[in-house]
Symmetry: C2
Subunit: 453 residues, 2 copies
């Protein structure tokens, strides 16, 4: 969505070369709002507006621009001023951006950057996507535990211009081993006793993550402990960075999107829906569709197998999609509930027996409920003999019980096997329960309808 409120004024100021006006625009509002108001401009125009303000405001606004716009600006600006802009960005945002643009551009720009930033970029890009290392920032307030509150605050006052956050202060020894943390709140509370040593205030029970930890597990930990930031360490407990609350929110949203795609049988996209060419999008769908299609061939061959029965009792076909879709829907519900409960760590595979029982009862109740509906419709509207129509409720109960068990147990089996349980989502459970559904339905019919023998 583009906010067009300020666009005419901005264009007019650009045409008139009103640098003072543009500078005022950049500084008057919160950077996120300024960025929002500029989204209707071209990348070149935005870059021109950003030139009018100071380096700090420029980088603040740039960080809030949409990803596409950031990339476009990098492609057209001159390398020198861009390398300055990128050097000023927070390390984690900077690396995210550089990963998205043309590697040749990155190569051409790296030599223009200060050595410290260059090394930082190279180190951070080395962490694989999805690990704690790939989302952390390396700008951390590091202090020695031998400082007093007064000294710490003085030190911080000098460091903060470079730091994304000072909500926690990390205490390290000479070799950068993490020893403890002190919160900004503790420092302020102890302003009245400025000679207190940090060592006396610090929390020694450290909750940390490793650079190699999965970002989803990190997000869970932060959510669980209500942290604003969590320190990232290596195997020797050296402090290498922190992950802040805003990155955690990004990770949670990314994971929610991925889970939603999985549940819908779509391979997670690397970019947003609209920014992806349609044939790339189709490719992300084709794989799962083909697998589901091949699985669905099972229904074709089973129906061919039961050809004679179907020919003898024509009305069996009429209820076929109803019976199998009811199985698919209940199975899909079970899979949804179990996958979500596994994701939120509410259940583990050890709970399988309890889950099996719960889903059995639910399946029975739901099956009887839909069975009564189906029986009534068969008798009243399709004028089937009640003895024949009994096939419908019996098949529904059995199909639904089987589907709830499949829907609940398959994600648990996948979890147990070390696979992502989300792979056993709706469409897959439906596909499998379609085949078992046909088998159950025709078997029940053969059992109850004497003409079929």
């Amino acid at each position: 969505m583009i906010n067009t409120l300020y666009l005419p004024e901005l264009r007019e100021m650009l045409a008139e070369g009103d640098r003072a006006g543009l500078c005022e625009f950049c500084e008057a509002l919160h950077a996120a709002r300024t960025a929002e108001f500029m989204e209707g401009l071209t990348a070149a125009e935005i870059w021109e507006v950003l030139q009018t303000t100071d380096a700090q405001t420029r980088v603040e606004i740039f960080r809030y621009l949409a990803e596409d716009l950031q990339e476009e600006i990098l492609e057209l600006g001159d390398p020198h001023s861009l390398s300055k802009l990128i050097a000023d960005m927070p390390p984690d945002d900077r690396v995210d951006l550089l990963k998205r643009v043309d590697p040749r551009f990155v190569e051409s720009m790296l030599p223009l950057m200060p050595a410290v930033e260059r090394r930082d970029i190279l180190r951070l890009t080395a962490y694989p996507e999805g690990t704690a290392g790939s989302v952390m920032t390396t700008e951390v307030a590091r202090l020695s535990e031998s400082l007093t509150v007064r000294e710490a605050l003085q030190e911080l006052a000098q460091q903060t211009s470079d730091l994304e956050t000072i909500y926690y202060v990390y205490l390290v020894d000479d070799e950068n081993h993490l020893r403890g943390t002190v919160s900004a709140r503790q420092l302020v509370t102890h302003l009245g006793k400025p000679e207190t040593l940090l060592a006396d205030l610090m929390e020694r029970d450290l909750v940390t993550v490793l650079t190699t930890d999965d970002q989803e597990a990190v997000a869970e930990k932060v959510a669980n402990y209500n942290f604003i930031a969590i320190p990232v360490v290596d195997h020797e407990l050296h402090l290498v960075g922190i992950i802040t609350h805003d990155d955690i929110i990004d990770v949670l949203q990314e994971e929610a999107t991925e889970d939603a795609y999985r549940a819908g049988g779509v391979e997670p996209l690397e970019r947003s829906y609209m920014s992806m060419p349609w044939f790339q999008l189709a490719r992300h769908r084709a794989g799962w569709l083909a697998i589901l299609f091949v699985a669905a061939l099972g229904t074709t061959f089973s129906l061919k197998h039961y050809n004679q029965t179907i020919q003898q009792v024509a009305w069996l076909v009429w209820f076929l999609p109803l019976v199998i879709s009811s199985g698919g829907n209940t199975g899909g519900q079970s899979a949804t509930l179990i996958i979500r409960a596994l994701t939120t760590k509410e259940i583990t595979t050890a709970d399988w027996w309890q889950i099996l029982k719960r889903e059995l009862y639910s399946g029975l109740l739901l099956g009887i409920f839909l069975g009564i509906l189906g029986f009534a419709i068969g008798c009243l509207f399709l004028r089937l003999q009640p003895t024949h129509a009994m096939v419908i409720p019996m098949a529904l109960v059995l199909v639904i019980v089987c589907s709830t068990q499949l829907g609940a147990m398959l994600p648990l089996l996948f979890q147990k096997a070390g696979l992502d349980p989300a792979l056993m989502s709706n469409p897959f459970v439906s596909g499998i329960s379609d085949i078992t559904g046909i088998f159950i339905y025709i078997s029940v019919a053969k059992l109850l309808i004497k003409d079929l023998w």
Copy 2:
């Protein structure tokens, strides 16, 4: 999951009445970890352990206990010490808890609480679930803009023991109108110039939310602006509270769970999967299942309508589930993509024409792909005449194109009509595309197979 590492030691200390040891256990670790280690104890045992430590640690640990345990403890503790515990909790957590327990207990305990807390509880419980008011906390650092940095820090040092967060300081006038914000970071940076007025530092471009705003919209705003906390105001811009980053993460997780349930055709649960009695769970599933069942009756009546055609060409039935499930799967994929893009505000209903085109191309390509597969299988494995087998690819292309359009357009229509687009999720799109699928499939068959005329 219950961590049993410390359980034997805890039980032993409880049996021996070792208060000093229990007190040390409570204070040694981060409160979240202490809570985790106690989850295997009974509510009565936990309450006994908590009695050994000071009020502040007690409330910290209590906050991290699982919801069920918190409720059980409230049911058995004595009202006097419990009212003290509840008075010490952060206002937002306290109200969440009191909403979950027996209203009679709340009524019996309210008179025992200090008047300020009592009024606060009554005010917060009045906000409807899902609004900003219902998730905010009322403990805020409020200062006057006429203070200097030095005075502000002194004032904060006294206030902080009551405050959940001091990461922003909110500047209000005499009538509690919000005038601006200053971050803790700005205060620390200006320690060298302690006479600076807050009025000269404060951000005047305020980003606020109303008490009545939807919690999902609030979470998006905070995520978008990378805030740690956002002020909540009423229509006259009086500061009534703040919503902090940890509550935002809770809201995001709640909304992700709700969306996942909707996508699976389950009415969102008020409690977790395991803590809900199975028949209540079944009731949450029965409503949507019944609606889907009635919709699926459409397939029964259409198949009855086409009875003659189906009787004439037996193999048409064999491919029936395959054709309609392919439609359901592609339609479900489209719905998943569009609903997610609408949720993340990446598209709006105004983009419908572009979406329609993209889904048309995708549908054509995917239809042709699966059509070729289906044709090959029909000819090679089921030995159909190629002229007859052509029914399969033609039907697949048409069914899949229709399903992608349905899957993409129905959520957009729901959004346009002011309904939740997530209601048009996988099972619904599958249900509707089943019926259109049968119609298309049989029509194509009639057109291509001369014997059917």
